[in-house]
């Protein structure tokens, strides 16, 4: 299967007063048609910047894509002219964002907002666009879709707004959907509904999905393959089963042990067991030192980790990791 979207050694830097921040430092990944790729990492690891770089949505200045390529059906999106990338945004590659409460224009009716990309990209008339908008609202399971067309975002709950965002993003039937933490701002029951919705629509429409999240639970739910990012780099990549069965990077292991588990809490007699955390925080990307970026927080760090950054290595078929050490890390 050939990838629809492929990032090759993508580098996005921000010029700040305190120096160059390498927010994305040579990231490569790909998504195949109809597949869901999970991109995981904690805040500040560059996962959102990577996804914004795909559609060239990084504000410039201060941000700039300084190297690498983003191949969409053989076309390098970092090189195409501005009007070409605009024709791709929303039509071929769509995005949904983290904050459904603020991602819709409060002054415009829901129907008009869903119609806009349809009129822009597919050249529909206003009436046809509204018809299609209504179908999209049905598709994302908004009840009473016809009257919601003339409703305003402030009348909707967060979950409904995220459904509208999904409807807008999928209105033009894009080949790739980038979901940047689509469930982070929602409560748990709605999170589940939105994830199921994305999964259902993906099966129906054959869209490739890049699911960006800090939540391994979300990844376990929807992803086929996972990329783990740390400090602007990819540190591990594997299919979902391999990753959970045999993680090859101490960071991934740390993320997994930090997930609260009901059975563990129940096992502990008396005091509920304290959650394991990864000590420290992500290093400032402007002051990266030589060696592995994770070394200061890693329990397995050796002298070698401080001197030389480990390269990505294929540890087993389709399973890549950037670590000097051999798993398991228990």
């Amino acid at each position: 299967m050939s990838p629809v979207l492929e990032l090759k050694n993508l580098q996005t830097h921000f010029e700040t007063r305190s120096g160059t921040v390498r927010a994305v430092d040579g990231v490569s990944y790909h998504v195949n048609q109809g597949e869901t790729l999970g991109v995981v990492g904690e805040s500040g690891c560059g996962k959102s910047v990577t996804s914004l770089s795909i559609l060239r949505l990084i504000p410039n200045p201060p941000g700039k894509i300084v190297g690498g390529s983003v191949l969409f059906e053989g076309e390098d999106l970092t090189q195409v002219p501005e009007n070409r990338i605009r024709a791709i945004r929303g039509k071929e590659i769509s995005m949904i964002f983290q904050e459904p409460m603020t991602s819709l224009n409060p002054m415009m009716t829901v129907g008009n907002q869903i119609s806009e990309p349809l009129i822009r990209h597919l050249g529909l008339t206003k009436k046809d666009a509204l018809d299609r908008a209504r179908e999209m609202l049905d598709l994302v399971h908004i009840p009473d879709s016809k009257s919601w067309l003339s409703g305003y975002p402030h009348q909707m709950s967060g979950g409904m707004r995220q459904r509208v965002m999904i409807a807008m993003a999928l209105a033009c039937d894009p080949k790739v959907l980038i979901a940047d933490e689509p469930t982070t701002a929602l409560d748990v029951t709605i999170q589940g509904q939105i994830l199921m919705l994305i999964k259902e629509l993906q099966e129906k429409l054959g869209t490739a999905v890049v699911m960006i999240t800090h939540d391994l639970g979300v990844v376990a739910e929807v992803a086929d393959r996972v990329v783990v990012m740390y400090a602007g780099r990819k540190v591990e990549e594997a299919d979902i089963h391999t990753l959970f069965e045999r993680p090859r990077h101490p960071y991934t292991v740390g993320l997994m042990t930090a997930i609260p588990r009901l059975d563990q809490i129940a096992e502990a007699d008396g005091d509920p067991e304290r959650l394991t955390e990864i000590p420290g925080t992500v290093p400032l990307l402007s002051e990266l030192q030589p060696g592995c970026a994770f070394k200061d927080r890693c329990a397995f760090a050796t002298e070698r980790c401080g001197q030389q950054a480990p390269a990505l290595e294929e540890k087993s078929k389709g399973h890549w990791a950037a670590c000097w050490h051999e798993a398991p890390f228990q």
Binding site: R86, R120, D144, S147, W148, Q155, M156
Partner: protein, 302 residues
């Protein structure tokens, strides 16, 4: 209508068909009129506009008819609002003054609004050096006292209505552009603007359909405040001899000229002042009503 919504904004019923812009406007206008205050302010505004248009028909005397024998007579018959020192009928002059004052006020504010909001929107949205250049130019104009600049312009161009409008609107352009720029700056960093970019919309579409409608509140309020401000500034120009020239009446000049008789013939200033006061109330209320009406989140809509 689903049960989960919070505000009871009337939603189109199921049998309603997709409609064109006009019927939507009519519906929105009817909703605007549901509020008593809006009916009042719109009615008062329209009243003054009609008064200005019909001034030649209503006025009992020509505005420049001098009658020295009846100079400074108190309100009564046939001079409903009395006369000034030259015996000119105040009522007629106030009516004709509505024409000059309203047209100068409205045209100046409109010019300032269109030019200033465009400049401010471009400046705030594009940012970078474009913003720097536009804002520095605006600041240069702001550093010159408004009345001095207006005086200079009028003395070069000659004291006519168009040159007074031009002279007064330059100041308004700077005021509108600063307010518009500020609002655009705060709106353009909103998530929905980023979402618009991600959907492939053009910059022009984003600015006009998404950013500016969200900046409308402060702009409308500024417009309604500036309207009265412009009418008064015109009187300052007249006071300094660079405004509307005698015998053409404007509210501002009448108030200013009546000053010296205030103690024994207050009606000369009083009636144009009353008209100015009512106009300002009408426009300020209309502005507030419009702002609340245009914001779909506004709690006072229904």
């Amino acid at each position: 209508m689903t049960g989960s919504t919070r505000t009871e904004i009337p939603m189109p019923s199921d049998e309603m068909e997709y409609r064109g812009g006009w019927s939507l406007f009519a519906e929105s206008f009817n909703r605007f009129l549901e509020l008593k205050l809006n009916r009042f302010s719109l009615g008062l505004t329209l009243f003054f506009i009609v008064l200005a248009i019909l001034a030649p028909l209503i006025a009992p005397f020509p505005y420049d008819a001098v009658d020295p024998a009846r100079g400074l007579s108190a309100p009564g018959w046939p001079h409903l609002m009395g006369t000034d020192q030259a015996g000119r009928d105040i009522f007629s002059r106030v009516l004709y003054g509505t024409q000059t004052s309203l047209s100068i006020g409205l045209v100046t504010v409109l010019l300032g609004l269109v030019a200033g909001v465009s400049l401010g929107a471009i400046s705030g949205y594009i940012g970078g050096w474009v913003d720097e250049v536009i804002m520095r130019i605006v600041e240069i104009f702001m550093s010159i006292p408004g009345i001095v600049m207006a005086l200079a312009l009028v003395s070069v161009l000659g004291p006519s209505v168009p040159s007074i409008i031009l002279a007064l609107s330059i100041r308004r352009i700077t005021q509108f552009s600063r307010v518009a720029r500020g609002s655009v700056l705060s709106v353009k960093s909103q998530d929905y603007v980023m979402a618009c970019h991600a959907l492939g919309m053009s910059n022009a579409r984003i600015v006009f359909a998404h950013v500016l409608p969200n900046c409308i509140g402060p702009i409308i309020v500024l417009a309604s405040v500036l309207l009265g401000n412009v009418i008064l500034t015109e009187s300052t120009l007249s006071f300094l001899g660079m405004g509307i020239q005698e015998p053409t009446p404007s509210w501002g000049t009448m108030i200013a000229k009546g000053n010296e008789f205030l103690t024994f013939a207050p009606w000369i200033s009083l009636f144009p002042g009353l008209f100015l006061f009512l106009t300002m109330i009408a426009f300020n209320l209309l502005g507030d009503g419009l702002r609340d009406h245009l914001d779909p989140r506004g709690g006072s809509v229904v």
